[in-house]
């Protein structure tokens, strides 16, 4: 009798790595959990052990929260480091970044399967590499024109702009170290940190990731230059220079005016003040005083007053909610096909799947 689970199929090391990283485990920690050596785990992940023992795969499945079948077969679309942009603190540990990329790969599997039964908006992101301030401003204006948003008014739903351009927004990051994450590839995704309670900061994060998708395709990000460029893009995209400049002017600095602008432009007071400074409408002294005041008020750390209404990302929830209604595929079947456990499916998508055990199979309806 063979000791491997599927003797005719090769164990896929990349899948083990994705599952391990998604659980935030190191190779040593996983080895410890399944009573194996770290060297064995490394061999499995590198594909040098194509037929691991049956019980080892079962142990992987139990510890990592997947069905044993998950570890077989190639992965169509892996989120590689060079394709991903992450808005994080410099101290963010590598294991957390790997976890987020693995999460992206898993959500990518879900979306790929959903694409086989549903028409998603076509990916439609303009490419405009830019490094100088003038080029970034122009790139943001080009994007607004490309998506027919004009360059005169505020955007009421910035999330929808990206979702209509085929980017799936997922509010699933929970660690406060990473504000946002994006990936431009066959499946374009923006992850947002749902621990951030400020809607205006969410808007800015979406604009920032949009900047990476537009300007930094194929370019490694995470440097001060690329992050500053993405910040400038977000400012310019949310608050185009000419229209914003006209409305920003005030005889003397006035917080009421700043908050009136916040209500209109759906951006944080912090972003508005910074934009005013960047456009030369505020002096360095005024900007520093304003920043100090915001810091003193606790707005920079605890959030600002008068936040815009929260806008839930819609694309993924629309797709998942149509399962079992407009399409035959159900969420339970999707979970089973992908070989996720219900808990893992919930962690990946934020949507609950009924556990097969909880299904009431012995209920018979009354005859009429």
């Amino acid at each position: 009798m063979s000791t491997t689970l599927f003797p005719n199929e090769a164990f896929w090391g990349e899948r083990l790595q994705i599952a391990r990283e998604f659980c935030g485990l190191t190779q040593a920690k996983l080895a410890d959990e399944v009573s194996a050596s770290p060297a064995l785990i490394s061999l499995c992940e590198k594909g040098r052990k194509p037929f691991p023992a049956h019980d080892l795969i079962q142990a992987f499945a139990e510890v990592l929260g997947f069905e044993p079948e998950f570890f077989y077969g190639p992965v169509e679309d892996i989120f590689r480091e060079e394709e991903c942009s992450m808005r994080h603190r410099r101290s963010t540990p590598e294991i957390l970044k790997a976890k987020i990329r693995a999460h992206g790969t898993l959500i990518g599997m879900v979306i790929n399967r959903l694409r086989s039964v549903l028409h998603f908006p076509e990916q439609n992101i303009p490419h405009a590499p830019a490094t100088s301030i003038e080029d970034i401003e122009k790139a943001s204006e080009q994007c607004r024109k490309y998506w027919e948003l004009g360059i005169d008014g505020p955007l009421n739903q910035i999330g929808r702009v990206l979702e209509n351009a085929g980017v799936v927004i997922i509010p699933n990051l929970v660690k406060s170290d990473v504000d946002a994450f994006s990936r431009c590839g066959p499946t374009a995704i923006v992850f947002l940190n749902q621990a951030i309670k400020s809607t205006s900061r969410w808007h800015f994060d979406i604009g920032h990731e949009c900047g990476h998708l537009v300007m930094h395709r194929g370019i490694p990000t995470g440097t001060v230059e690329t992050e500053d460029a993405a910040n400038r893009f977000a400012s310019a995209f949310l608050m185009p220079r000419k229209a914003f400049g006209r409305e920003f002017r005030m005889p003397s600095f006035d917080w009421k005016h700043i908050f009136a602008l916040k209500r209109r432009w759906n951006a944080s007071a912090q972003a508005i003040v910074r934009r005013g400074y960047d456009l030369g409408l505020l002096s360095a002294v005024e900007y520093r005083k304003a920043y100090k005041y915001m810091s003193w008020k606790g707005w920079t750390s605890n959030g600002e007053p008068e936040e815009p209404a929260f806008q839930e990302p819609e694309l993924l929830s629309l797709a998942l909610n149509s399962l079992g209604t407009t399409v035959e595929l159900t969420m339970e079947a999707l979970c089973k096909e992908l070989h996720f456990t219900p808990n893992t499916f919930k962690e990946v998508t934020g949507f609950s799947v009924r556990s097969p055990r909880s299904k009431a199979t012995n209920i018979v309806s009354f005859a009429r």
Partner: protein, 219 residues
């Protein structure tokens, strides 16, 4: 005498432009405040009833209280006008664009001594708020002087700047009413983005059916 001439009668015969020293003050704002006080005093004057014992003292008290109340009500309508008192006080202190002021009835040249002292609200506003708001620190206080004629009708309302020693350093006759302009800032409306759509793909059978139906339609 036109108000332009009056504007120049300052203590040292100077023409004072308060908006240069206090950019948070605006002509339109001062005009609104002056109108509120003028209107409140007019209403109070209507209630003057000598037959029932009203005298200049009772009228003065009522006019002051009504003016104070009208300004407090005004804070609800005008975001730039604020009351600096957490609880209603006799020595009411208000602010225009964060710059505090008090008001009195009397001539601008000689503000009563009781109106020269800084209230706690004024001091707090200077120390905690104006500094953070980046306003220029000026070691002077602002008062609004309301002048009346013998009949008790308001004649002039003047902004007065008083230094530490209680000397009036500048004054500005507030114009009766600044004409309201109908010019508004052109603002493009906000862009409403349509929600994203997902549509089910048709199965092969459905596609075949659709193709057959189309053929039939085309004959």
């Amino acid at each position: 005498m036109s108000w332009k001439v009056l504007q120049c009668w300052g203590m040292d015969n100077n023409c004072w432009n308060p908006f240069a020293d206090y950019p948070e003050l605006k002509e339109a704002y001062l005009s609104v405040v002056a109108d509120i006080i003028r209107q409140a005093r007019k209403e109070a004057l209507k209630r003057y009833d000598a037959a029932h014992g009203d005298d200049s003292w009772s009228h003065g008290v009522r006019a002051f209280a009504w003016s104070k109340f009208a300004l407090t009500e005004g804070t609800k309508e005008y975001p730039w006008l604020t009351s600096l008192d957490a609880v209603p006080r006799l020595r009411a202190t208000f602010a225009i664009g964060g710059r505090p002021f008090r008001f009195y009835r009397g001539i601008p040249k000689e503000p009563p001594s009781r109106y020269l002292t800084r209230t706690f609200a004024e001091i707090r506003q200077f120390q905690f708020v104006l500094k953070f708001d980046g306003a220029r620190s000026i070691d002077k206080v602002l008062r609004i002087a309301v002048e009346t004629n013998e009949q008790g009708e308001t004649t002039d309302v003047t902004l007065v700047e008083v230094d530490k020693r209680g000397r009036v350093t500048n004054s500005y006759l507030i114009p009766l009413a600044v004409a309201k302009t109908n010019v508004v800032l052109a603002q493009a409306p906000a862009v409403n983005v349509r929600p994203p759509m997902v549509a089910p793909k048709k199965s092969e059978q459905q596609q075949q059916k659709a193709a057959e139906q189309a053929k039939k339609k085309n004959g």
